[in-house]
Symmetry: C2
Subunit: 136 residues, 2 copies
DNA sequence: ATCATTGCAAACACTTTGCATACGC
DNA sequence: GCGTATGCAAAGTGTTTGCAATGAT
C-alpha cells in the first residue's frame, strides 16, 4: 500500500482512497480492464464509488504517465499499469488478452520515412494456446 | 465503376447504389475514415442516405473481408479498403494517419509462444515529417 | 477557509436494433 | 411477388460535462 502512495506522489498525483484502490487494482490484476470493469470490481468494497471518478482517475493517471491507454481491437479502451514495452495478443475465441515479449518483433529505430516514432503499439489477433488445445 | 461492382460480386455482396458509393469512396480516398466521415462525405450527393445504411454496409464489407476495421488509437473505429499489409502511423500533431511499408518490421512466423497469429496490427504514434519541419 | 476531489444527473457521441417501406430480380 | 436492402426512430453503450457536496490541509 505504501508503494502505491509513493507511485502517486512521484507522479504529482495527490493520493486519495479512490486513486489508491484503482491503481492498486491495475497493479494487481493485469487483465487490461476497461473503466467499466474496474468500476464493477471495486463497487462492492466501495459502495459510494462513482463511474465518473473512475473515468476522472484513469484520465489523470494516463496524462501523468502512470497508465497506458490501449486501443487493441474494437472501440473499447483498456488500461494497463506501465511496465516494460510488450506486445498484446487477443484471442478471438476466449477474448483473453495476453502480454507477449516485445523481442519477437524487432524495430528500434526512432525514424521511419522521416517520421519521428514516439510510441509503438503491436496488437496481434488469433487463437491462443489454450483454445488451440480444445480445437483438436 | 464496373470494377467496384466486380469486387462486390466477387465477395458475394449484392451491388446497390449505396454499397457502390461507399466502396468507391473507400477505394478512392485512403484516409481511413470513420463511419461518420463516410456518411458526411456522401450525404450531399445522396440526400436520402442513412447512417444506418453506412453502418450496415461497413459491417457487411468487413465480414466479407472487403474492408479492414482499424482500432488505431482512442475509441474510434476506422475503415480501409484491403490492400497489402502495412503499418499505420498517426501523427499526434496533425492527427493524419500515414500508411507505412510493413517491411520495416519483420515478423513472419505464425506461432508465438504457442499462440496462432492470424492478424498483425502495428500502430505507431509520433510526429510526422511535415510537422517536424514546422517545429524547427 | 481554501482548493481539489468526488459523485450524481444530464448530456453527448457512437453504434445497434426494431420495424415499416422500398427496391430488384 | 418474394426476399433483401434501406432508412427512420428509438434504444443501448461508453464517455464527458456541469455543478453541488464532500474532503483534506
Amino acid at each position: 500500500m505504501r508503494s502505491i502512495i509513493d507511485i502517486l506522489k512521484k507522479n504529482d498525483i495527490a493520493p486519495s482512497m479512490q486513486r489508491i484502490k484503482i491503481l492498486e487494482y491495475l497493479k494487481n490484476y493485469k487483465t487490461h480492464p476497461t473503466a467499466d470493469m474496474i468500476y464493477h470490481a471495486l463497487a462492492d468494497e466501495m459502495p459510494t464509488l462513482s463511474k465518473t471518478t473512475v473515468y476522472n482517475t484513469l484520465k489523470t493517471f494516463t496524462e501523468k504517465g502512470v497508465l497506458m491507454a490501449l486501443s487493441i481491437f474494437g472501440n473499447e479502451v483498456r488500461y494497463e499499469y506501465n511496465t516494460n514495452p510488450h506486445i498484446h495478443f487477443k484471442c478471438i475465441k476466449c477474448n483473453k488478452i495476453y502480454d507477449l515479449d516485445k523481442t519477437y518483433f524487432r524495430y528500434d529505430d526512432e525514424l521511419i520515412d522521416g517520421h519521428k516514432i514516439l510510441e509503438q503499439h503491436i496488437n496481434l489477433k488469433g487463437i491462443c494456446k489454450e483454445c488451440l488445445k480444445g480445437e483438436k
